[in-house]
Amino acid sequence: MARLMEYSFKEASIEEHVAKLIERISRLEPEIHAYITVLEEQALQKAKRLDDALNKGVAKGKLTGMTVAVKDNICTKGVRTTCGSRMLLNFNPPYDATVINQLEAQGAIIIGKTNMDEFAMGNSTETSYFGPTRNPFDPSRVPGGSSGGSGGAVAAEMADLALGSDTGGSVRCPASFCGVVGLKPTYGAVSRYGLISYANSLEQIGPMARTVEMCKLLFEAIAGHDPLDGTSIPEELRRPTELGSRTERRSKFKVLVPAQILGEGTDERVEKAVLNALSEMEMVEFEVRSGDLPSLSAALPAYYVIAMSEASSNLARYDGVRYGHQSPWKHDWDETYSATRAEGFGVEVKRRIILGTYTLSAGYYHKYYVKAQKVRTLLITEFKEAFKRFDLIAGPTMPILPFRIGEKVKDPLEMYMCDVDTVPANLTGFPAITIPCGFIEGLPVGLQLIAPPLGEELLFQAARLFEEELSLRVPRINR
């Protein structure tokens, strides 16, 4: 609980808290560039209203006075929501995402909209139309992506909490690279209404925070059934599965470390840090075993086929007809659409649209998309089997340390490889959390825990033990 106190504002008013934060943002933002839009005025006004309510004793809400940085692919009514793209430079959604309504209801203050890889495609936040975000621990390095702005904002204490979206690891990757806690919830646990889709069947909005406790708080604020989202889990089914309920159990956490997520492609230092942390935890309440999850090796290609297929269809709506960037009329529809999209989208987005269009086209659909869905089914079966014997699956969140800005942009395949450990949770829909487990040359290393569906509580319990028991010293960002 020590860490939670560190960020509480018990001595000051909410307004002072927000003012201090805004001051910090204006100091750090030129270097970190975590935000696309900072909502100073709006946040200060909300803070005043909350102070009034507190004074009158009518304030309620678990997040009262806490500032939340929101990824810029989550719609905010009247506040531009760009997805980090030129295409949506001037898009002001006429509605709020469900999570925004939930945050408002809990007394949170939206402090700004954070930078991201364009349309959430990437794991370095370098593909943003607004320029890259920098890693607070080393500004020459990337913060991870695609929710890099959210990760950077939380790590640099430019927000108490942040929301990201996780399609293939986009919450966990920046959380890991920025040394904070990040959760990819069970698919359907958090409403996607108002989240601008990249790959609908994979993504979830996820909380990011500096402590497990605060991450849990934010998750609880945004979880719940949403009648506006047809894939949202109904309230009556929101009990953790038998596998995931461990609230009353006194026995040790049984943890599986699959052989497939270590070794080749994983930085030896990262692997060592993760294994060290796990063995340190064996002293406490953890029983760690290695084993096999053979389908893991097919997860990455399957993920990219599905994600790109869905993306190619989702991004078709950006044609400049109703909103967003529009190229001047070129005497026919096809030409005009092409010009609009050529100008509005960046390279990585175009690459994924083209690949996705290819994998869906007649003749290739069965070869790629259908096969990828089969891998997905296989993976779910394998995970379910594993969870009959284990409580959690653990390993590194990212196989490597935060890399230098510009180091990997030229090689998309190498970039895609970074997602190898995070995508299984998206393909299966199972929840996964990342927590800092070590520092190598001042750069954070994240450890990932995956639980059965709706096993978020289990993840928080285990992660809290890590946080309490690991002899980990998180360097403060003092700039």
Binding site: L195, N200, E310, S312, S313, R317, A362
Partner: protein
């Protein structure tokens, strides 16, 4: 030459109140453009479709009425293509292929001419927006988009290529419209609520598709034209191209829209935002139980409960509006048998003659009932009634007013009629003599009296007077 015609009918579910995936009102006709829209049906970034469950119910009802096999688990797919009338540039539809399962497969419609047309599949999908060209498609400087229609629920019905003639196509469409109207899922008379694509091939040759034909009459015309065109081509030794053609209503010809080398690639894949829908047997039973009275049940009821002659009942029950007109007459107190005779006989032939539809406001049950009452009260003869009915349909005036205005009231004045009978007897001595032995001659005499009064003489009274006079004549 062997003609094969298949139809693909898009029919709006006009009774849903809301669109297929959002709560916008589906009752948009006549309203300002782009007033029935919301972030969801405009496909704004971040929005998600939410399936209207009533549409599912209507879809199941249609499938039941068309003897189609309802699928226990149906899925929604995305059909991807770029077009300005599509807010998302993909249409949420269903797909009968891959893992796609439409709401129903198979089925048939029996035409009254004794032919059975097989159904291939029935699916639910969203309607695109409407493009409004200022001028014609070719010459328009700009095109406006009205999204009021975007997202309206459609049921798509695809037939096997079972139809053999353009007339059969029209009969099928009329029958289909009747069924949908009986079900109360669609009002086929609303502008653009039913649209049809047709594909046609001759002698097992190349298939040509004709897109977006607006009315049944036009379907028949377009198909006629296309058959002639294709026959002429083969007569000249030219090949029929595999293509999509547009029916130009004003010029009454089909024109080429695009030549297809291969099947268009819509890149179908499962819609990730809508979970597969499980359609349980109990659900289907519940929909079946709630189905409105369909034609065959109506027919039985008319015959059994209302003593309507079988032929009349068959005709009246075939069409919803006709049955509604009949039932309204009965409801207003008309004798069912009389009403059925008048509707099936005179009314329908007058409508054809005047080219009026049953929806025309001049066609009113109240008027029909008023006319029947005038006959019953002995105020007009059946012959005059025919005239009155025709006039009423032409002008919309009430029968009473027509009778009064034109002085058509029956002559019931016994003294006047007696004088007329005497006159007729004087003028037709031969017939009077015959009449003692021959009933036909009696009728002739009665007819002569009627003629003198231009049909206004009370036939019952006239008959009585003629017979009385005959019996008084001494045989000599």
């Amino acid at each position: 030459m062997d003609v094969k015609i298949g139809l693909e009918i898009h029919c709006q579910l006009t009774n849903l109140r809301t669109k297929l995936f959002c709560n916008c009102s589906s009752d948009y006709r006549g309203d300002e453009p782009n007033t029935h829209i919301c972030p969801i049906c405009m496909g704004l970034p971040g929005t998600l479709p939410l399936l209207n469950e009533k549409a599912l119910e209507d879809g199941v009802a249609v499938a039941l009425a068309l003897n189609s096999e309802i699928q226990p688990k149906m899925t929604f797919y995305r059909k991807n293509y770029f077009y300005p009338d599509m807010p998302k540039n993909f249409q949420i539809s269903q797909f009968d292929g891959g893992d796609g399962v439409p709401i129903a497969k198979g089925g048939f419609v029996d035409l009254d001419v004794g032919r059975r047309i097989k159904i291939r599949r029935i699916q639910i999908e969203e309607d695109p927006a409407k493009l409004v060209y200022s001028g014609t498609i070719d010459t328009a400087e700009e095109v406006l988009i009205d999204y009021n229609r975007a997202g309206i629920a459609l049921v798509e019905i695809v037939t096997e290529p079972d139809i053999r003639t353009p007339r059969e196509a029209r009969l099928f469409l009329q029958k289909l419209r009747d069924i949908l109207e009986f079900l109360g899922v669609s009002d086929g008379s609303l502008e653009g609520s039913m649209r049809c694509d047709a594909n046609i091939s001759l002698g097992g040759g190349t298939r040509v598709e004709i897109k977006n034909i607006s009315s049944f009459k036009e379907v028949e015309r377009a198909l006629r034209f296309e058959i002639t065109r294709q026959k002429r081509l083969s007569a000249e030794g030219l090949t029929v191209q595999r293509e999509t053609r547009h029916w130009d209503e004003s010029r009454r010809i089909t024109v080429s829209l695009r030549v297809k080398e291969t099947e268009e690639d819509y890149r179908y894949f499962p819609e990730p935002d809508i979970m597969p829908v499980v359609v349980s047997e109990q659900y289907v039973d519940a929909v079946r139980g709630a189905l409105p009275e369909l034609p065959h049940r109506k027919k039985d009821r008319y015959v059994e409960d209302l003593n309507v002659p079988v032929q009349n009942a068959a005709i009246l029950s075939r069409n919803l509006r006709l049955s509604q007109l009949f039932e309204r007459c009965v409801g207003l107190g008309a004798d069912p048998v009389e009403a059925s005779n008048w509707i099936v006989g005179d009314l329908l032939s007058y409508l054809r003659e005047l080219d009026l539809s049953l929806e025309d406001p001049k066609v009113r049950a109240e008027h029909l009932v008023e006319m029947l009452r005038l006959i019953e009260d002995g105020l007009i003869s059946g012959k005059i009634a025919k005239e009155v009915l025709l006039e009423s349909l032409k002008t919309g005036k009430s029968p009473k007013r027509i009778v009064e205005e034109r002085g058509l009231m029956k002559i019931g004045d016994e003294e006047l009629l007696e004088r007329l009978v005497e006159e007729v007897f004087r003028e037709n001595r031969r017939a009077v003599l015959d009449a003692r032995l021959n009933e036909e001659a009696v009728n002739y005499l009665i007819g002569q009296v009627m003629k003198k009064t231009a049909g206004k003489a009370d036939p019952v009274l006239t008959s009585k007077l003629v017979r009385l006079k005959l019996s008084q004549i001494e045989v000599g």
